[in-house]
Symmetry: C2
Subunit: 256 residues, 2 copies
Amino acid sequence: MRLAMVGAGNVATHLSKALINAGYPVAQVWSRNIDNAVNLALEIGANSIANIEEISSDVEMIILAIADDAIAEIAQKLPINSDRIILHTCGSMPLDVLNMHPKFGVIYPIQTFSKNTELDFGQIPLCIEAHNNETLNVLYSIAKNLSNNVAKVSSENRMRIHIAAVFACNFTNYFYSLAHELLLNAQLEFDIIKPLIKETALKVMLSNPEEVQTGPAKRNDQSTIDKHLELLKNQPSIKDLYALISQNIVKKYSKS
Amino acid sequence: MRLAMVGAGNVATHLSKALINAGYPVAQVWSRNIDNAVNLALEIGANSIANIEEISSDVEMIILAIADDAIAEIAQKLPINSDRIILHTCGSMPLDVLNMHPKFGVIYPIQTFSKNTELDFGQIPLCIEAHNNETLNVLYSIAKNLSNNVAKVSSENRMRIHIAAVFACNFTNYFYSLAHELLLNAQLEFDIIKPLIKETALKVMLSNPEEVQTGPAKRNDQSTIDKHLELLKNQPSIKDLYALISQNIVKKYSKS
């Protein structure tokens, strides 16, 4: 099966490499940013194309690994081809955004991708969805060759997973960067909390997060919370976040 | 050096075991909750005592591993003994809360402890502080036997580290539990985002968190943010958090 990759960002890069490793050649790469397309194509041994219309007629699957709000527009530009499957990779775009094509589906990897970070793709949960069972079976067989962890997930549940992922990953990483900022402001090294970050994540591999919550808000230790808010008084946006989240945690654990 | 442990919670448990492994016998355990004291004493081969006044006169160091707001009160109850070092283990209590005693200090482990989670104590950063250099040297030599990662940290910087830890650990774990809740509500398994949680934490072992931020808010993808807020409309406290943090992330990355 010959593939074309539309997009050359973090997801496109990791997914292209995983596909090639699994024996699915990515023949062509297109990106709005031609330099990115050229770079990814070079990296994976594909051809970059400057116009999306140049996607070869023998490409059997086109994967749109692009920003959510670009999918509908780009999908519209692809020629209708009754033998070809069009996929997107987004958490929060419904399957039907691709329904101008005869065959379409979704492969959504539940992972955070950065270009320079190596990943074991085989461990990444892949959510698949398709317009009919035949296409779903094609996606299932590809996905199973990419990962041990493949699940059929509806568009609505995919979006729920995406929201959960925003909390568990994007917001979490933002908090790492607030911690980083707080430590740097005090001439302290970020290194000093790395074991804590690691342990916090590893603990929930084995325990429910509710059961391993710790900290001043969990203990409803208002005097510590107040001291922290006082020290944060010159950083109002961090202080407001601290207050709001502490309040939520206090409420959650004082109920039980 | 004979020690007494005051407290029998998560920190007391892990620290007692680490001390014993490093060759510092914990002779006595006291806790406000006598059952907890008995259980910890049994687990580590110490004696539990029902009254804090029973701390043996040959105990050379008493460690207060108790809630922040109990430290001043308990420290007051300990007999004054010019040969004995009194320690606490809190992030946000100043050293001076113990200054009614002749010798005093702090060992603050930057870690999240749950009783049933095994930890490699040797990797835990320990912040130490003491009223004079002689006591500091004693603490340093004990701390170096417990961990490879020991730093002298002032009371104020210790509190800054604690605030950073609240974001990087307590709030992060709270977000894991929100993710858990969102997934369970949709009959989805928490397992499905575990690889993401792990990768998010591991990524910042090697990269600055600012550089590996991903997600809709980082991309200022308002249409996805709006869809997520719409799906969260019946969970107003989660929705408000989502909106506030997304706003902060958008602001941070649109500046740069």
